[in-house]
Symmetry: none
Subunit: 252 residues, 2 copies
DNA sequence: ACGAATTTGAAAGATTTTGGAAGATTATGC
DNA sequence: GCATAATCTTCCAAAATCTTTCAAATTCGT
C-alpha cells in the first residue's frame, strides 16, 4: 500500500473509532508500528489527528452514521436463524414490505441475493443497502421515532396505504390464540396498512413471543399466512396455530 | 495505445480511485512502469495529478457534493466551518428542511442545541439524530438512491410539496451569476419542491463550488436569500452576489 | 521503403521509505 | 517516590521506489 493511501485509511479508521492504539492501527493497515508513528506525525502536522501515548485520536470526531444499535445481541442466533429461514420463503424479484423490528431486520440482511424490492419504514433496514446498491429500497415517509429508527405518524400510514407488495414480513410483541399484539401503539396503524397492502403476510416471531400479550391488539390469526419461529417455540401453540391453517416454519 | 489516450485513461482511473500505485497503473493501461512514470510527470505539470512515492493521487477528486464516502475528508474543515456558521443563522425551534449533500450534512450536525424540527430526504442526516432523540426528524418517503443515501422519486417530491418550513438549507454542485446547478437530475425536482415550501432559502456552498457549473439547472439567483461559504470563495463573485441583494456569510 | 525523431522498456545508480533495535521518556502500580 | 512496564524517539541497514541513461522499438515525414 502507498503512504498516502495508508494515511487516508488511518484517518478514516480513526474517524470511525475516534481513538485507536498503535497496535490496532498497525494491524488495520498492515505495516509496522514505526511506519504508523511516522504517518501519525504527518497527520498530526496536517491537524487531522492528535497523537497520544499509546495511540491517536481524531480531532473532529464525526459520529458514524451507519451503525445499528450495538446492543442488539439479544437472542441473536435465533433471530439470525429465523432471518435466514424467512428469506428462504421469498421468491426472487418479489416486492417485500419489511416491518421495523430487530427480528425482521435480520430477514433483510439475508435478502440481498433474492434481489427484491424492499419497502420499509425502518432506517436500519434502509441503511443496510445504501452502500451495496444491489437492492432497490423504498422508504415510507414519516417522523423518526427516536432510538428505534422507525418512521411513524400519518405520513408513514399514508405511504403504506398506497403501496401494494407481494409479501409483508412483520414482527410483533406477542402472539396468542386470540391474535397478535404489539407494544407500540404508534406502530399499529402502520402495520395494519402494511398488511392490507400485501398478498401474503409472514410474521417472524422468536419463541419468547409465544403466549405473550402486549398492550395493543394488532390483528387476528386469520390475517396471517405464515409464521417463522425457532425450535424452542412451544409445541402445543404451534400445533394449534397449524390447526387454524397457518403455515408455521421452524428455523433450524 | 496512444500516449494521450493512455494519459487520459490514467487520469480517468485516478478520478475513480483517488490514488493508485505504479504497479496498479501500469497494469491498468498495460505499459511499463517507466512509461507510467513519464505519463504521470506530464499529468503533474498539467496540474491534474500529484505524484507521490509509489504512485499518484488525483488533485481535484471529483468533488461530488452528494457522495457520502468513508474517506470524505475533502474540504472537511471548510465544510465544518460552513456547517457551524449556517447553524448560527437559524432560530431555536424552527422547522428546517435539510437537503441531501455532504456540506449540509455538517449543518445538521451542529443543529442539536437549536432543537429544530428537521425535515429531510437524507438518510445520513436522519441517522444523526435517531440515537439522541433531542431533535424531531421527519423523513420524506422515496426510493433510496444507492451510495448517496438520498430518497428520490415521485414519493419524495410529493412529500416535500405538502410541507411548509421556516428555512431550507440547500446544497448544490456549482454556482455562477447565471444561477445554481446540480449534478444529479433526479434531485432537481425534489430540491425545487424544498425551496417552494420554505420561507427562507439558504445555500451552503464551499469555495470549490464558485464559478463551477454542473449539468442540471436548479434555480436562478433570485430564489436565494442567503449563501454560506468559506473564506476562500472568490471575492469578485461574492461581491457580485451581494450586489444582487443576496446575503453572503463567510465562515471563519 | 528509408532515415530521422520520438517513444518505450530496461538497467544502473541515487533517493526515499520501511522495519527493527537501542536508548530516552512517559505512564502505572505499590 | 521508586521500580517496572509500556511507549516514544533516534538511528541504521534493508527494501522499495525514483531518476537517469541508453539501446531497441515505434512513428512520422518524405
Amino acid at each position: 500500500m502507498q503512504a498516502e493511501e495508508r494515511q487516508a485509511k488511518i484517518a478514516a479508521y480513526l474517524q470511525k473509532v475516534e481513538f485507536a492504539s498503535l497496535e490496532e492501527l498497525s494491524q488495520e493497515v498492515d505495516v509496522s508500528q514505526s511506519t504508523v508513528r511516522r504517518d501519525l506525525t504527518a497527520l498530526e502536522t496536517s491537524g487531522m489527528v492528535r497523537r497520544t501515548h499509546g495511540g491517536a485520536r481524531i480531532v473532529n470526531p464525526r459520529s458514524d452514521e451507519f451503525i445499528f444499535s450495538a446492543r442488539d445481541t439479544h437472542q441473536l442466533t435465533e433471530k439470525e436463524a429465523i432471518g435466514m429461514a424467512c428469506a428462504h420463503l421469498l421468491q426472487p424479484q418479489q416486492s417485500v414490505i419489511i416491518d421495523a423490528g430487530t427480528t425482521v431486520y435480520h430477514v433483510a440482511r439475508y435478502l440481498e441475493e433474492k434481489k427484491p424490492q424492499i419497502i420499509t419504514n425502518s432506517l436500519p433496514v434502509a441503511n443496510l443497502y445504501t452502500a451495496s446498491g444491489q437492492v432497490e429500497v423504498v422508504m415510507s415517509g414519516g417522523v423518526v421515532y427516536p432510538r428505534l429508527g422507525v418512521l411513524v405518524g400519518p405520513l408513514a400510514v399514508e405511504s403504506f396505504s398506497k403501496i401494494h407488495a407481494d409479501v409483508a414480513v412483520m414482527s410483533a410483541g406477542g402472539i396468542t390464540m386470540e391474535g397478535v399484539t404489539n407494544s407500540h401503539g404508534l406502530l399499529i396503524e402502520i402495520q395494519k396498512a402494511m398488511m392490507r397492502g400485501s398478498r401474503r403476510v409472514i410474521f417472524c416471531l422468536d419463541h419468547t413471543k409465544f403466549g405473550r400479550q402486549s398492550i395493543s391488539f394488532l390483528c387476528g390469526l386469520e390475517s396471517i399466512h405464515t409464521i417463522v419461529t425457532d425450535h424452542q417455540a412451544p409445541h402445543e401453540l404451534v400445533a394449534a396455530l397449524r390447526a387454524k391453517g397457518i403455515e408455521v416454519v421452524i428455523a433450524p
